[in-house]
Symmetry: none
Subunit: 412 residues, 2 copies
């Protein structure tokens, strides 16, 4: 099944918005064995949407459209599709009721423009949008499928995950078996070199992809064929070989994250954790709090962004700050002691560094970030030497810190 | 002059890489008055590249191609262009000499694959790549222009900035003037209704676009024409009318954010701020810390995720928690008092709510989030009623809280 993607919106063409939807769609479609043949970005006009649709249907069996479904007038997709299919519009009462419930809950009034959102081209199969007002729509046309979804990424993802992907994967007859292995701390080239002997023995129907993000590389094994049992066995077999080889840098499998792994470990071992964050400014805590139910093991954090708050809230010795500086092994150790005490937790994590772009010195350049994890008996420290980009430094430091925390809890 | 963009590469179609080049090109071309009519992502094959080129030249006067020029075997763009133009290849000695100098400097040997990088279709106008080995190429074909550049973003940007944009802006006579207005707190439909009278008086060369994200809407005014003075005056005039009308919900202009505006205000008014975060778990603090130099006005935060930490670190009265609960107006007020004291700041912000997906009750459903901002004299509180999605609730609460903080500081 060949797919095409059409992203509708002037804001994409003039570069005010980076189109991340197409990449997400490409990734998730390829995981269920559907190949994206081409993708388009087109302007928000009736003619351009129609032309895009004609071209896409010429080259693909299924066309995914994102954008152009909002309640304001610059949104043209629905009208263009109805005209292309040569059908009229009907009022979809269920959508109206759902939008009304959302507005009632927020204590707001619906406007006439929201009524327009309930108009659908005749023959529309509604795809429920659990995250917003405009529903997704599916059309069947001359043996092909057109799917139109809002351009807001989390709304599109909800419709795809809850409605479209389950439906499509049931229709695809070639099986694809995926397994994802999550690593952190080494680059993709190093991993590729480490694995070259194993990869040389892969059967032809097994592929590996390296999906790098900041300080992490996801390895995705994909086996394609008709014999699902064989595919599963093959993926498991090679996943085990890879796990043995890369043991030290693997932190989980499948749809996981460092914070999810930490949540599982804390719950299993009944360990309470807390943080003392300086340069990461609450970023690590907010990752932990993104996990539902984190209140059962996460007590809180002190974001000690000034020396004063390090002394007052974490009981760091002022002399330590004067002698060694806020960015030092000694300070992060005292921050852990302070967090253990103040937050009354079993294990604490601390971070202090120079995030940049300014503030570095020859001895302590921008990107030098000290991390400490410990309990009342012992502590582990790590000096991360990162680059000059502030947001990258904060993200990389958070990932290194969470991984250090994960390993520490694992060893308890 | 109508432009089209073709991004070449399977890695884009399967979503392994997000295409940021097209957005960058769209933005910089529209700034010099060139409209991107459409963009494509195509697979790394001779046929798909050729088909893309045919379609793009059919709809545009100038075609920008990125990707497919590297030294590895899967890069096909150059061969496809030569065949499309019906020309042979020549060896470009200057490029060879330049690549050799780069390798000599790094102490590395050139491989045979790099020799291939010096082969160019006959008639190529070379565009120097100051950031990498593969040069950009310009072709003139039946009155139209084809520009091919590497897909590596910083190499493409170097070629565009140093070679292409100066050349094109000398040729373009249409100008485009953009202005962006940032709003928060109301939906795009409400804004459109509010502005309908003003928009009805827009001249035909002025357009408005609504670009929504969570709890925010960006308004973009675009004027196109030959008389740049008139365009600037028109955009300014209508931007003023819109600003007067939407006064309450506008927080800034151009490339700004709530946290940037807060940073400017704190610096200007010499105000120090701190936070007491419960359900947002450090997310608001991390937004503030994302701004370089925030240590000059941001002292720190207490992420009080347990009742115990609210009492111990923020001095919240245990009776308040028992009587009114952690998610209450009374508690967020006491959290602000605690933060003002503990963090020794002028203005403090607090948030406590039920982020979900579980933990709600009939009286306090998931999505109920109390926010308080205040100084030692007075406090403002707000009850946000959001939905059931945890990550959305945290993001929306953070935006509402930052906006409340911004308004409070503005009034000081």
């Amino acid at each position: 099944m060949r797919a095409a993607i059409i992203s509708v919106g002037d804001e994409i063409l003039i570069g005010q918005v980076v189109d991340t939807n197409s990449a997400w769609l490409g990734q998730h479609l390829s995981e269920i064995g559907i190949t994206v043949k081409k993708s388009w970005s087109v302007a928000d006009t009736h003619d351009e949407i129609t032309l895009g649709l004609v071209q896409a249907l010429d080259e693909a069996d299924i066309v995914f459209m994102t954008g152009g479904l909002g309640p304001t007038k610059d949104d043209m997709t629905k009208k263009a599709i109805a005209d292309f299919l040569g059908v009229g519009m009907f009022f979809h009462q269920d959508t109206y009721d759902r939008i009304k419930r959302i507005f009632d809950r927020m204590g707001r009034k619906m406007s006439p423009a929201h009524d327009d959102q309930c108009l659908m081209p005749d023959g529309t199969q509604i795809l429920t949008n659990s995250m917003g007002t405009a529903p997704g729509m599916l059309f069947r046309h001359q043996g092909k499928i057109i799917i139109s979804m809002p351009g807001v990424p989390y709304e599109m993802k909800a419709i795809m995950t809850e409605e479209v992907l389950p439906m499509l994967s049931a229709q695809v007859d070639t099986a694809i078996v995926h397994k994802t292995i999550m690593t952190t701390g080494v680059g993709e080239t190093t991993i590729e070199n480490e694995l070259s002997d194993i990869i040389a023995t892969f059967p032809s129907f097994l592929k590996i992809a390296y999906l790098p993000s900041l300080a992490q590389v996801r390895l995705r094994l994909s086996a394609t064929g008709n014999d699902k049992l064989l595919l599963n066995e093959t993926v498991d077999n090679f996943s085990n070989q890879i796990s043995e080889k890369l043991h030290d840098v693997i932190y989980g499998y499948g749809n996981t994250s460092l914070e999810k792994e930490i949540a599982l470990l804390c719950t299993e071992k009944n360990i309470k954790i807390g943080m003392a964050e300086s340069c990461t400014g609450g970023h690590i805590s907010s990752k932990i709090v993104s996990i539902p139910g984190s209140s059962s093991f996460f007590t809180g954090s002190v974001v000690s962004y000034s020396n004063e708050s390090k002394v007052k809230l974490l009981n760091v010795n002022p002399e330590t700050l004067t002698t060694y500086g806020a960015v030092s092994e000694e300070t992060v150790k005292e921050m852990v002691d302070g967090a253990l005490e103040t937050l009354n937790v079993d294990v604490a994590l601390s971070v202090s560094g120079i995030a940049g772009p300014d503030g570095g010195t020859p001895e302590k350049p921008v990107g030098n970030i000290w991390i400490c994890v410990g309990n009342r008996q012992n502590k582990v420290t790590y000096l991360l030497k990162s680059g000059k980009d502030r947001s990258k430094n904060i993200e990389i430091a958070s990932i290194y810190a969470l991984n250090l925390l994960r390993k520490f809890i694992l060893a308890q």
